[in-house]
Symmetry: C2
Subunit: 214 residues, 2 copies
């Protein structure tokens, strides 16, 4: 009996998080109404407050889930035998697709941007830059990226570029061209980052995508 | 007598805009309190409502002034005899410095980001991308940028990159490294965009800055 109650509580909590994500995605943090979230979740104000005493707690739950899903993408791609260079490109392509298709990731991305200026900034950017920097170092070791660049500078630009493209594409096309813009970013960046005698790899990497193979 | 009244009204309006910018900069659009703006401007609620009936009107006034100041930078740099490539770099460096130092530009940048998701997205990104695309085309004509790239793709990446760097740098370092990150962006981008036999120009362009000459 206790297990049933516990399972039900977990299901209710998840349902509230999903509903909150939908409302944050469409109305933003400031605009999100708790009433709308309660209605969408088909729950009560009491249940909502039991799981999430404040709106900030709800946003944190959505951001946690967003982080888990983003990490799962990175893990999944890191554990196959792709080169570090290929991993960088694939991770960015897959996360862009997730922002487009997964309501939790979409809401998390919006919250991340909106909460950028609050007292406790989400640390995600720093973590992503470090992870990317590690891939750049490995790609330099592999000879896929020229040794003259600063791995940190490249990683900072890749993560900022992805964040910026996501933002600009949201404004100008409601993200309908997000995939293409991410590909174009890599086209321009890899022109200088990949040594001349490895440029065939770039054609292969970005071409596979254009041919619908990934 | 009428002129004096009119001058006073213009001064009051400007004073309200400056005060609103300071409050939007520190508290964001949703968090900005009209009471704080009134207090900071040393004006009355009546005067505020006379000039700006809604908070949106205040934000629009700050964004208009932000746009005017950004355009002035672009105009100023476009009217000297620098090459298109140099203009691109200088405009981005100068606007980054403005975001750091000019309260109106700082507030405008924050509002632009926060209002990204509202029904009437600020059109600035589209205008900036077009202006940058024009400079990329001219740089290709000059032989300073390789002809194999898409001017639109490069312009989209430059503007998104600058927007993203501004955002990430705000979160991670309160913009203390904004200048350096913009320079690093150009270092990485120009590695691939500028033909090998013109790379000396890049060293000169970015080096002048490092030596404090611009």
């Amino acid at each position: 009996m206790r297990e049933v109650r516990q399972e039900r509580a977990i299901a209710t909590r998840q349902h509230i998080v999903d509903s909150a994500a939908a409302v944050f995605d469409s109305d933003g943090f400031a605009g999100a109404s708790l009433g709308r979230i309660i209605k969408l979740a088909g729950t009560t104000r009491g249940a909502l407050h039991f799981h999430f005493p404040t709106k900030e707690d709800l946003a944190t739950a959505v951001l946690d889930e967003h982080n888990r899903r983003m990490s799962a993408v990175v893990e999944g791609i890191s554990h196959n035998d792709a080169s570090a260079l290929e991993q960088m490109v694939r991770i960015s392509e897959t996360t862009a697709r997730q922002i487009d298709q997964d309501p939790i990731v979409r809401a998390g991305t919006r919250l991340l941007m909106e909460l950028t200026y609050t007292g406790t900034p989400p640390i995600s950017y720093g973590v992503w830059i470090e992870a990317c920097e590690d891939l750049v170092r490995r790609a330099i070791d592999d000879g896929d990226i020229v040794a003259s660049v600063s791995p940190q500078a490249v990683a900072y630009l890749v993560i900022s570029g992805l964040a910026g493209i996501q933002m600009v594409s949201s404004v100008l096309s409601r993200r309908s061209d997000l995939d293409r813009r991410v590909d174009e970013m890599w086209n321009v960046l890899l022109l200088g980052l990949v040594p001349a005698d490895r440029q065939w790899k770039v054609a292969e990497l970005l071409g596979a995508r254009a041919r619908g193979l990934v």
